[in-house]
């Protein structure tokens, strides 16, 4: 059984904030050799999938061959941080300073950037360790070395807020927004500072912006309600609390599942449930990411490809949906529904031959499947093959005598045929 306490610590990181450092390969200029690139990318994938032990093994393996592989060292430290092995993380991040200083043929700006990002990571760790004074020094170093990086200024603003240095925090957050105006967390902190300063009207504006930019964060609704309450608008406050409750239920459930998945990363049912919850709350990007994680962990999981195909269909993104249904058929050619969906998707993109082939394949497997015939009739109609379409609809009415849609379509096509004959 997992220790509930620890989970709660992760759940309630007020001082540690919500920013997760996502420093990946592309952010650190590669100073490593190409032979380890694929292993490195594999390690990064493990991190994304929260398979931390595998990630640690991968990065350690790279480092055993190339002890100065800065990217791998950075990622290894990052994984330690994610695992709350904070002392190990600090030790590993600190090694980067030494290694980078000794690296030759690396331009100074690159070294500065690596130093800056390392300081930023250390700032985050010291925040976790309640050592805000040390965190502040690291964040300052990070901002100095990576002045154009919004994250460095955000971290400073975050630290200053918790030190109750509100003017300094506001200035840091302002710098963050100058560098990245779409930084939703900043608006939340601006809202919180406004609340602390008893400026509820400003708080309302900031939280509304935060919600607009990122509607899935419960705290924004909670604090927006508080701002309305301070303004005396109790009905608006009640409305926001209602939304807060919905978002909190969503957050709590997804958090619980994510926690369970950390212990059981291969649990398909849980991952599917997680994606469904994201979808229910229209958090599409999270749902997509969850399905992608599923198929990365289970490359043969038809359900993952099918769900992704359907999701993209629902989003009217036909071209993105098609490869997933094709993958479904590659894994199991007998999935009739995939043929049907591909028939529909190809029809939509006017690839009639492919569409027809898939529908015929579906019919071959299920000769009584009226939907497939409907698809065929639609293709023929769009291609102007009226008689072929009429023939198909007539066939449908034989196998599905109660299919009113087929009857209506048949009736319309026959009238169309007659009128075209008269015109001729």
């Amino acid at each position: 059984m997992d220790a509930g306490r620890k989970r709660h610590q992760m759940f309630a990181k007020r001082v540690c904030g919500v920013l997760i450092l996502t420093v990946l390969l592309s952010l650190i200029p590669s100073v490593s050799r190409t032979e380890t690139t694929s292993a490195f990318q594999e390690g990064v994938e493990y991190v994304k999938l929260r398979l931390y032990p595998q990630a640690v093994d991968t990065f350690k393996s790279i480092l055993s061959q190339q002890p100065t592989h800065v990217d791998a060292l950075f990622q290894l430290a990052n994984v330690y941080k994610l695992q709350d092995e904070l002392e190990l993380a600090i030790e590993t991040f600190n090694k980067i300073f030494t290694i980078v200083a000794d690296l030759k043929n690396v331009p100074t700006p690159t070294k500065e950037q690596i130093h800056g990002l390392t300081h930023l990571a250390l700032a985050e760790i010291y925040c976790k360790q309640s050592k805000l004074d040390i965190a502040e020094q690291h964040a300052k170093e990070a901002a100095e070395r990576c002045p154009t990086d919004a994250d460095t200024h955000y971290r400073l603003g975050y630290i200053y807020t918790h030190q109750a240095k509100l003017d300094a925090a506001l200035a840091a957050f302002k710098r963050t927004l100058t560098r990245n105006p779409d930084f939703p967390e900043v608006y939340e902190w601006l809202g919180l500072i406004a609340l602390m300063r008893n400026e509820p009207q400003q708080a309302v504006a900031h939280y509304q912006t935060a919600i607009e930019k990122k509607p899935y964060v419960q705290s924004a609704y909670y604090n927006l309600a508080k701002a309305y309450r301070l303004l005396g608008d109790t009905s608006a406050a009640a409305e926001q609390l209602k939304r807060f409750h919905q978002m909190k239920a969503y957050y709590d459930r997804t958090y619980a599942i994510e926690g369970a998945l950390t212990e059981e990363p291969m649990n398909t049912i849980l991952r599917l449930e997680l994606a469904e919850i994201h979808l229910k709350h229209k958090h599409i990007s999270a749902a997509v990411a969850t399905y992608h994680a599923l198929i990365r962990l289970h490359p043969d999981a038809i359900v993952g490809y099918d769900k992704l195909g359907r999701l993209y269909m629902d989003l009217n993104m036909s071209q993105r949906a098609i490869p997933f249904f094709l993958k479904v058929l590659e894994l199991n050619p007998d999935v009739v529904e995939a043929h049907l969906r591909l028939g529909w998707l190809y029809t939509k993109s006017k690839a009639f031959d492919k569409a027809e082939a898939h529908l015929q394949a579906a019919i071959k497997k299920m000769p009584q499947l009226s939907l497939a015939y409907h698809g065929l009739a639609e293709i023929y109609t769009q291609q102007g093959h009226i008689q072929k379409a009429i023939d198909v609809y007539q066939h449908i009415t034989k196998i599905e005598p109660d299919d009113d849609d087929a009857r209506k379509a048949l009736h319309n096509l026959e009238r169309l045929k007659q009128s075209s004959q008269i015109t001729r």
């Binding site: 300073f97 170093e141 109750a164």
Partner: protein, 578 residues
């Protein structure tokens, strides 16, 4: 490593340096120049050793600790001490049966163990306790919560007690934690609220691990149970009215901290419950025989991120002297303690960060917490008892220790607090023993749980009793407070409950106005001096003193001298005691 990374620790020393140096020849323990509290446990004769029944199995009921507090059980005018103990839970106990202990104050800064004579040495695995004159007979009765059936000890008025749990029908069978008496229905009889923690027996204990390390489980490993509320029938018995008072749709939570206070100033005493990793409760007393749970709409349910925290202890107090009761809650490490400011008697703002509490408390796991004016400057400060829950936390988090320092925050009078806790452990040499003895009460590093406040030495400033897990308690004598002036008010209800619990006292000195409500609970598993203590700075007299009793009656006194203790009998004059 960045420049100056390690050079900013002066910040931590800031408040510490501000404390005025005092060396008092009256104390036989060495006092450092800038000390505020001196550890006098040993010289006071408190030999009590707590046991949490540590089995090595990390049983779920081992970590909450036990409480205690100050009360004048024998009515001799000075505060005695009661300490709750755990119990051995394994078969290999060395024939040692731990029990609760009552210490009588000898009036000379020492105490004598009178447990056996008093008959309050319960051997059940104890957690918390509270006191109040539930039978209005003029002496203080004692209620003890247990991991097991709770107990009510009736004070016989002759320095002995009788366990009348069964007769009084208050044998809460749940795992009770903090508890408090208050007259919820304003009928002149004290009712009793008990926070309950979880549905657990050692037989159904589950093993919890974190990164492969065996640790104590979090509360959600076991289902929560509803709290218990007993209505005093006025005839020596109580009725369990929990289901009548709580909202029908209330979800049970893991209750730990309890504090009563009339936060909405409507004359009906309300109740706040700190829950562990669950939403906290604010029960608004409707005055019509039930509570409304209004924590969320009042802004005191969650932290400012809209998240539950691991609420441990809690206390109502008016830290900004605006006449409205504010709230503080102690929480788990990395969560920060919380300070809620009462905005308009129906809504609280989260002032944790702006108060200066956040940054310091983030690194501690807080339990007992209490507003009190340690330096008698007219502003309520905050004391927090800390200590980690996991005995092996250092294996998982190298920078965290199981024993932790307690924290004292001085109220600067502008809505902010300064950490005035000693920065480092300090000792003096004890030539008799040839050892070094730690005397600075604020430099102790222990596994603390409960914190009770009271002027045990009757010298005009508030002292602290801290209970610790598997260790002796700490009696911390205040050595600076009485440099400023003060008064204490002992209230005696007539139509209102005899203990005066819930009475609201207003003290006016010049333009400075302060309020207190007499409380039987608050903090964590602890109870406190029922006398209302006011520091009044350099004021030479109390211009006005008002007592609003729980039945709405108001008594007044004017032009009272400072540095005196007063007795106020409901409907009578406010007179000096000595």
């Amino acid at each position: 490593m960045p420049k100056n990374v390690h050079n900013n620790n002066f910040y931590r020393f800031f408040g510490f340096i501000l404390i005025v140096a005092v060396i008092s020849p009256l104390y036989d323990t060495a006092v450092f120049a800038d000390q505020i509290f001196v550890d006098v446990t040993e010289t006071a004769g408190l030999n009590f050793e707590h046991t949490d029944g540590r089995s090595g199995l990390r049983l779920f009921n081992e970590f909450l600790g036990s409480g205690g507090g100050f009360f004048d059980y024998d009515g001799d005018g000075d505060l005695d001490i009661y300490l709750v103990n755990g119990a051995i839970q394994t078969d290999d106990a060395e024939n040692k049966i731990p029990h609760n202990v009552l210490y009588r104050n000898n009036g000379d800064n020492t105490f004598t163990d009178v447990t056996e004579a008093a008959g309050v040495g319960s051997t059940i695995y104890g957690t918390g306790a509270t006191v109040g004159d539930y039978d209005n007979d003029g002496d203080l009765d004692l209620y003890v919560t247990n991991f097991g059936t709770d107990q009510l000890y009736q004070n016989n008025g002759d320095s002995t007690f009788t366990d009348i749990t069964t007769h009084a029908q208050v044998g809460n069978p749940n795992w009770g934690t903090s508890c408090a008496f208050a007259d919820v229905d304003n009928d002149g009889h004290l009712d009793l609220y008990i926070a309950n923690y979880a549905e657990y027996t050692p037989e159904n204990d589950v093993r919890c691990e974190e990164r492969g390390v065996h640790v104590y489980c979090g509360p959600h490993a076991y289902p929560a149970v509803h709290d218990t509320f007993y209505k005093n029938n006025g005839d020596g018995t109580f009725t369990d009215v929990s289901t009548l008072y709580r909202p029908a749709d209330l979800i049970p939570q893991h209750g730990l901290g309890v504090t009563f206070g009339d936060y909405d100033a409507d004359g009906n005493i309300d109740l706040y419950v700190a829950n562990d990793q669950d939403p906290n409760f604010l029960f608004q007393n409707t005055g019509t025989g039930n509570f409304l749970e209004v924590a969320l709409i009042s802004g005191v349910c969650y932290n400012d991120m809209g998240k539950e925290e691991a609420g441990m202890g809690t206390d109502f107090g008016d830290y900004d002297n605006d006449g409205k009761l504010d709230l503080t809650v102690s929480n788990y490490q990395t969560e920060t303690n919380t300070v809620y400011r009462n905005h308009d008697s129906s809504f609280f703002t989260d002032n944790t960060i702006t108060s200066g509490i956040a940054e310091v408390t983030h690194g501690y796991l807080g339990w007992g917490i209490r507003f009190f004016d340690y330096d008698n400057d007219g502003h309520q400060d905050i004391f927090v008892a800390n200590g980690h829950l996991m005995d092996n936390i250092n294996v998982l988090e190298k920078h965290v220790t199981y024993p932790q320092k307690n924290l004292l925050f001085r109220n600067l009078g502008d809505g902010t607090f300064a950490n005035v806790t000693s920065a480092e452990a300090r000792h003096h040499d004890d030539p008799d023993r040839g050892t070094s003895v730690e005397t600075d009460g604020l430099s102790l590093k222990k596994v603390s749980r409960g914190a009770a406040i009271g002027d045990y030495d009757n010298d005009g400033d508030l002292d602290i009793l801290v209970t610790n897990c598997n260790q002796r308690p700490d009696l911390l004598q205040n050595v600076v407070g009485n440099q400023n002036n003060w008064i204490q008010v002992q209230v005696v209800g007539q139509k209102s409950n005899r203990s005066g619990i819930g009475a609201r006292i207003k003290v006016v000195t010049g333009t400075h106005i302060q309020y207190r409500e007499v409380q039987s609970g608050g903090s964590y598993l602890s109870f406190h001096d029922l006398r209302a203590h006011f520091g009044v700075g350099k004021a030479k007299q109390i211009e006005r003193l008002e007592i609003r009793w729980t039945n709405g009656h108001i008594d007044r006194g004017t032009s009272l001298p400072v540095n005196r203790r007063f007795k106020a009998v409901e409907g009578g004059e406010i007179v000096p005691i000595d």
